[in-house]
């Protein structure tokens, strides 16, 4: 923003990182069973609001993080891609549940085998469905990524691996 990274900008940059890290506005793209575990994590028992991510925004314009929760089928893939494109920068994607990470045990004609084949993903949360503790751990990893990104050493975003399936 203000030219080379001298003391002032780097301090400002990490302050912005800190601000963004603790005020995550999530877009819950909920489709399947992981939604139940998402509800449990968002509600009072495991309370994702302690990490500043308690405020779901159902419009991609106002959301920072796209929580893809539940199986994405081929009929749903264009919708997911369009919503990801319509999100305003800075944006991150969390793959919630094994169906979004690799397609889970629905290896058939109807399921997208992992959403990283269509959109870049920042944090993968395995589990079918993941326990709320896993989700909170994934959220903390995302916050570390956000902070690292603003501290001048961005972690490499895992690009979708070329996965060839033997039919």
């Amino acid at each position: 923003m203000f030219g080379t990274d001298n003391f002032l900008t780097s301090k400002l940059e990490s302050a912005i990182g800190w601000a963004r890290k603790y005020s995550i506005f999530q877009y819950p793209f909920v489709t399947a069973c992981c939604g139940m575990e998402y509800m449990a994590t968002a509600c009072s028992h495991y309370d994702v609001d302690r990490f500043g991510a308690g405020f779901p925004r159902f419009s991609p314009r106002q959301a920072d993080v796209l929580f893809v929760v539940g199986t994405i089928s081929h009929k749903m893939a264009p919708v997911l891609k369009k919503i990801y494109d319509q999100m305003t920068e800075p944006k991150w994607v969390v793959a919630f549940g094994v169906c979004t990470c690799t397609g889970g045990f629905y290896d058939n004609y109807a399921t997208v085998m992992g959403i990283d084949t269509i959109i870049p993903v920042d944090v993968y949360i395995p589990g079918c469905p993941p326990r709320p503790e896993n989700v909170l751990d994934g959220l903390i990893k995302l916050q570390d990524r956000i902070q690292a990104q603003h501290d001048g050493k961005p972690l490499a975003r895992p690009d979708p691996r070329e996965r060839s399936f033997t039919v």
Partner: protein, 448 residues
């Protein structure tokens, strides 16, 4: 001065997409509405956004391998799907589960029914703005999920039933845990009842919207709380009793008008009745809620010993013998015959035999290895159970091999969704939200 009628002004209908990614549409339903001002003139419902090919996948795995897939059909009350599928295959095999196992299945499916209604009423109340009710309901659901986790090991995708029985017996102290959880749940239900039932905004939004007549409901094949809200007395547990439901005394709440408010009353009432059913079962279950091992100096299980050692409490474990309990907790030889059918070609042997002698090992091998497993006779069977949204039917066709030839699920919320045009056309746009909330559409069950 005769005021000009508003409709004569030429206003073109607006096509609006209440699309797949929408908070009130539970994420996977696309309704294209033709709107004239605020009134819905016509709707076109698109489903299939969560079609994951359950029926195709169940033809590629063994009979017991289908059970994890059935958890994810109606993932809000997973145990009812497990029970439905396992009873269908048992009917195909001509076996009936032992007494105690049927009681355990009834207890767990009634607990699942309460969690389903909690989620449904909580979510539809949240969509009407009552976010507190949603938090209370999910808190109550957490108590019940802790109970389910104590019995089955998982909160949501439990895979607790097996063809011929259940995985393991009820844990020690299950009855006290259940009583405590039900006290909490009843408190929450009382609070929510105080919050919602006489709440002017909630009642105004729910009364008179999403109405359906008895004839339409029957013609659309609607069953469950949706049908009972219109006053038709049909509950699979009463009409075609299965498991031990004929020995239990419970009544079935009926509505009168068949609008959203009646469905809300029916669901709140059914939660209370399901809890009473569980309490009845806990008294009637043969062999007591659970055979608690006499607490007389039982050797310390290995896991506890390791923890104590790490915490440095050496004196407690010095000189004690650690025992590695080979049995899956609750599946030891003593209870095996009560929770599973005594057919060795169908139900796994107790772990003592599997680890202990060669016959048990071969029996275990023959049931789990690829290419082996259960081989029922050729035939076809339809078994209906009362799911949370209505009649959940499993139609299993077997061609004598070790894989199901065809497993068809009769999804209870599917006919309700096909009746959506009947519920929504002519109503206001804002009424779509409470109506869709009380339809309790579950994606996994609708699109399979």
């Amino acid at each position: 001065m005769e005021t000009q009628d508003a409709s004569s002004l030429e206003t073109r209908d607006m096509l609006l997409n209440v699309g797949p990614s929408h908070p009130a549409m539970h994420g996977i339903i696309r309704i294209i509405t033709k709107l004239e001002g605020e009134t819905i003139r016509d709707i076109d419902v698109h489903i299939g956004y969560l079609h994951r090919g359950f029926e195709k996948m169940s033809e590629t795995v063994s009979y017991n391998g289908v059970i994890p897939y059935t958890d994810r059909l109606n993932y809000v009350s997973p145990l009812i799907n497990n029970m439905g599928y396992c009873m269908a295959v048992e009917k195909l095999l001509g076996l009936t589960a032992p007494e105690r196992c049927q009681y355990i299945r009834v207890i767990m499916s009634e607990i699942s029914r309460v969690t389903d209604h909690l989620t449904c009423v909580g979510a539809s109340a949240m969509e009407l703005g009552a976010f507190t009710v949603f938090l209370y309901m999910i808190k109550a659901r957490e108590y019940l999920w802790e109970l389910v986790e104590a019995v089955t090991g998982a909160r949501l995708t439990i895979s607790y039933c097996r063809v011929g029985g259940v995985k393991a017996d009820l844990p020690a102290g299950f009855e006290e845990k259940t009583r405590k959880a039900f006290v909490e749940t009843r408190n929450v239900l009382k609070e929510v009842d105080k919050l919602l039932t006489a709440n002017r905004i909630f009642v105004d939004r729910m009364k008179g919207t999403g109405k359906i007549s008895q004839a339409d409901a029957i013609s659309y094949g609607i069953t469950g709380p949706f049908l009972r809200a219109t006053g038709v007395n049909f509950d699979v547990r009463k009409a075609c009793p299965y498991a031990v439901y004929d020995r239990l005394k419970f009544e079935v709440p009926l509505g009168t008008v068949g609008d959203n408010l009646d469905r809300y009353y029916c669901r709140m009432e059914e939660m209370e009745i399901s809890m009473r059913i569980v309490e009845q079962c806990l008294e009637k279950i043969p062999g007591g809620p659970v055979q608690v091992d006499p607490e007389t100096g039982r050797p310390i299980p290995a896991a506890e010993m390791v923890d104590k050692g790490k915490m440095g409490r050496i004196n407690e474990i010095a000189g004690k013998t650690a025992v590695t309990d080979p049995t899956l907790e609750g599946a030891s030889d003593r209870v095996r015959s009560t929770i599973g059918v005594a057919e060795k070609r169908v139900f796994l042997p107790p772990k003592e035999d599997t680890y202990g002698n060669i016959e048990g090992l071969m029996n275990h091998f023959k049931l789990v290895m690829f290419g082996h497993g259960i081989r029922p006779p050729q035939g076809e069977v339809y078994q209906a159970v009362e799911g949370a949204n209505g009649e959940l039917g499993f139609y299993v066709v077997s061609d004598g091999s070790d894989r199901a030839y065809r497993v068809r699920v009769r999804p209870p919320c599917f006919p309700i969704m096909s009746a959506l045009p009947k519920l929504l056309v002519g109503e206001m746009m804002a009424d779509m939200v409470p109506t869709f909330g009380s339809v309790n559409m579950i994606g996994g069950e609708l699109d399979r």
